[in-house]
């Protein structure tokens, strides 16, 4: 044991010795320093023994009030059983079992008045004393459409802060909320099986400003022995994420535990998620940046409600930026306000990463230095992420011949069922499947997002990688001479950084089209830039890059009549070493990989084939699923 600790310590010295400022994680003043040291050691301890674990960090059950009003009856226990591979009967009576169970899961119910929705359902007289709530209780007994209308009223009321007053009365609900939460924690504890299936204690902090989404998933590293009787800090306590971070710091100090927050759906925030001012409208400060970077090391960029990595408006030269935009780039969460072009820049992750560099130049620290994961945000208690096993985002979208064409209207805007994505996944490189190992990997950002498939992607950044490395144990070399995704490039030892990038197809999924490196940087005048490099692709003998940097399309084997595709195109594995041809030592930059699969049918196409109907025009029936890695950052402070 002693030997290992010493070894780790040496590694941390090597990695951070020259440029402490850019390498050590920014630690809030309120943190005890002993723990800080421990965390530094953890952070510097990646290992070639890591393997990838796939999980769901964002799942709702009937304990979320919106979910139960929409018709969900499954509870956290059902969710955990399903995720770990047991058979569960869905809310609409479908017997379901995952062919490939998940490795880890966060049942993240809305913590605000958790469990009260079920009390409306069962007619708690304290709540149904309110005529509106009573009406909802009646509607929940009606048709699925009526139930959804009740849910819509609840969501809209919550988004706008205009719920019936009784639902804000935390004295009335205190006992209930306490017992529901205690039960939730106890259930999670019972289902956490270290080494086999990790169940995290967690919840959703549901902050909204007039329908603009500022939600965060909150994940705890700890079991009940440290977590104890902690009650969640919710948006009823404060909508300001800075108050949530204060509470995080307090939690860690009081319990000795660890916690982090994961913002999601910048695409529904109408310009608020990565704004250039704080919640109260003040300017961003170094202190704000330090705390944000520390408490929110990850961002969820793809899930049922669209993709928030990039947008064609921001990245007009990115031919693949249009994934998961239809229906999700027109307004905020409850469609109470429409979207305008000026909002995009502070909603999407790639732009935030670029602006983060700009802010780092100004403040000395980067507030938007985050890794990326995918998740579900499924509201049925059943986490499925693949197109051909899509059980639906909500009760009304559980499998049926009609679900793809169901509509949600608000003013002039209509969202269609088919626009809902079949959820994303979080992929984590960790040594073992435990709360500690997976949480620590999240904290060091050694994670990537997928749109629901299980392709395996590695990314290492260093200064002396070459094609030769690929012939030997390149993973070992990657860790030894470089840093994995989520890290900071070590001090420069050559004229330009080089990257080992590898992608292996999902063992039971589609072949790969290409690997791209997305580089973002900020120039001396403070202007941000991005460039996409195609670095590896299938059939290189026939597919060429044109002068404008575009690569010949991979082709398309999708047969919509049968909802099938063929792996006769694409590659099983793509792997390369890429050196930045435009590197400038004085310029801040980040690099991450995007890996595209060949085109495959989307869930509405599987529905059409199974239920034997024709998809109407305009329905997006196929897509190129993909993975996005966390970035590796370069800061001139580490240049020679």
């Amino acid at each position: 044991m002693k030997y290992i600790r010493l070894h780790i310590h040496t590694a941390s010295l090597l990695a951070c010795g020259i440029a402490l400022a850019s390498c050590s994680p920014p630690v809030p003043a309120e943190r005890p320093s002993a723990q800080t040291t421990a965390r530094l050691e953890e952070k510097a301890a990646p290992s070639s023994e890591t393997r990838v674990f796939f999980g769901e960090t964002h799942l709702h059950t009937a304990n979320s009030s919106d979910a139960v009003l929409m018709g969900t009856r499954l509870m956290p226990e059902d969710a955990l059983r399903f995720g770990s591979g047991e058979t569960v009967v869905s809310n609409t009576g479908i017997k379901a079992k995952l062919a490939r169970p998940l490795d880890f899961m966060v049942v993240a119910d809305h913590a605000e008045q958790i469990g009260t929705g079920r009390e409306i359902l069962t007619g708690n007289p304290l709540l149904t004393a309110d005529p509106t709530v009573k009406r909802w209780a009646e509607m929940m007994k009606g048709t699925p459409e009526q139930s959804r209308s009740a849910a819509r009223e609840l969501i809209s009321g919550f988004s706008q802060g205009k719920l019936p007053p009784i639902l804000y009365d935390r004295v009335i609900t205190a006992k209930l909320v306490e017992s529901v939460w205690a039960q939730h924690v106890a259930t999670v504890e019972r289902y956490n099986q270290p080494g086999k299936f990790t169940a995290f204690i967690g919840y959703e902090f549901t902050s909204l400003v007039k329908g603009n989404n500022l939600h965060r998933i909150v994940v705890f590293r700890d079991g009940v022995e440290k977590f104890g009787k902690t009650m969640p800090f919710t948006a009823l306590d404060s909508k300001d994420p800075e108050d949530l971070w204060k509470w995080f710091a307090n939690y860690e100090q009081t319990t000795g535990g660890q916690v982090l927050g994961i913002p999601h759906n910048g695409n529904l925030s109408n310009g608020m998620m990565f704004a250039l001012n704080d919640f109260k409208g003040g300017p961003l400060t170094a202190d704000y940046a330090r705390r944000r970077q520390y408490w929110e090391p990850l961002t969820e960029i793809v899930q049922a409600k669209g993709e928030s990595e990039s947008h064609p408006f921001l990245s007009p030269n990115d031919e693949f930026a249009n994934f998961g935009k239809a229906g999700w780039d027109v307004g905020n969460l409850d469609l109470s306000a429409t979207k305008t072009n000026d909002m995009f820049a502070s909603e999407y992750a790639r732009e935030a990463l670029k602006r983060g560099l700009m802010l780092e130049a100004k403040l000395g620290i980067n507030p938007f230095k985050f890794g990326m994961i995918g998740a579900g945000d499924i509201h049925t208690g059943l986490s499925t992420s693949e197109e051909n096993n899509h059980l639906g985002e909500t009760f009304i979208l559980e499998p049926s011949a009609e679900r793809a064409m169901r509509t949600e209207k608000r003013g002039s805007i209509t969202r269609f069922g088919w626009q809902s994505l079949a959820a994303g996944l979080a992929a984590v490189w960790a040594k073992e499947n435990t709360r500690e190992a997976i949480f620590d990997a999240m904290r060091r950002r050694e994670v990537y997002a997928t749109t629901g498939t299980r392709l395996q992607v590695r990314l290492f950044g260093g200064w002396d990688f070459s094609e030769r490395d690929l012939k030997g144990n390149w993973v070992k070399q990657g860790y030894a001479r470089g840093v994995p995704m989520g890290g900071d490039l070590r001090p420069a030892t050559s004229k330009a950084p080089s990257f080992i990038i590898s992608a292996l197809k999902d063992a039971t999924g589609a072949n790969l089209d290409r690997i791209q490196i997305i580089k973002g940087w900020v120039d001396a005048s403070g202007q941000t830039h991005e460039r996409i490099f195609n670095v590896a692709w299938s059939s290189p003998e026939t597919r060429k890059v044109s002068k404008d940097g575009r690569l010949t399309a991979v082709g398309d084997t999708v047969d919509l009549k049968t909802a099938t595709y063929s792996n006769s195109i694409g590659a099983v594995e793509l792997r390369t070493v890429w050196r930045d041809p435009e590197f400038k030592p004085g310029v801040r930059a980040f690099y991450y990989a995007r890996v595209l699969e060949i085109p495959t049918p989307r869930w509405p196409a599987y529905d059409a084939a199974r239920y034997q109907f024709a998809l109407p025009d305009g329905v997006k029936a196929e897509s190129q699923e993909r993975a996005y890695t966390s970035p590796i950052w370069y800061s001139p402070k580490v240049a020679p």
Partner: protein, 277 residues
Amino acid sequence: MSLRERLRAALKEPLVHFLLAGLALFLFFAWRGDAVDPESRTITITEQQVERLAASWAQTWQRPPAQDEIDGLIRDYVKEEVYYREGLRMGLDQDDTIIRRRIRSKMEFLASSELENEAPDDATLQALLDKNPQAYAADARYSFDQIYLAAQDGAAAGAAEMLAALNKGADWQKLGDAISLPRSPEAVDRTRIATEFGEDFAASLAGIKPGQWAGPVPSGFGLHLVRMRKVEASAKPKLAEVRQKLENDWRAQTVKDREAKAYQTLLDSYTIRIAKP
């Protein structure tokens, strides 16, 4: 029939028993208070009630409440009592669909509510384990060498030739196509093999005897020649090793069973007549 007779007859009706029992339970569980006269505007908190409040609090928080916490509990209880009586005054309990549903939910809850604190004994869990040992067995673990062949046209034919060469002593390390899969997995469990190579490949391993090179075995990536080195079969697990999972499964199943049984018992005492149009 006199009123008295009619009342007596009514009291013999199971439906009336059910409703009275339900109402009593509703009063008890929804409010955790004693039945009170809703007309009265005097609220008396007895020592026993305070003790009960404190005991229930202690159960949640795992420690006795401090004085100010007890005061808070009493204030809360009084508030509850006031609301409750006002609710009754408003007639909220009268033939209300929501109250009906509340009673139903509480009755269902009654059938299974004890389960969370109930610990099944060893014999029960052992019986569950014996019934389906496979479901609780640890994965089989395999140690093997594998050579990957990209599944292009004719790869299967090439595989046969290679297999022949291998079994004549060819150096396996020099054969095959490159791929980021482990070439010599060491005591790896079946689940992980299924994750890395796909379910079909993992299933095929069970049929390969240690010693000789075998295959080709298809995976999601192409074909593989496999030399099994060691198989550690999944042993029947001991109760202590899988206790938590057994308990989880027992609890999940028993909740459903008890609810169904409790309902059936009640239902059996009813005569149901349904008029179909």
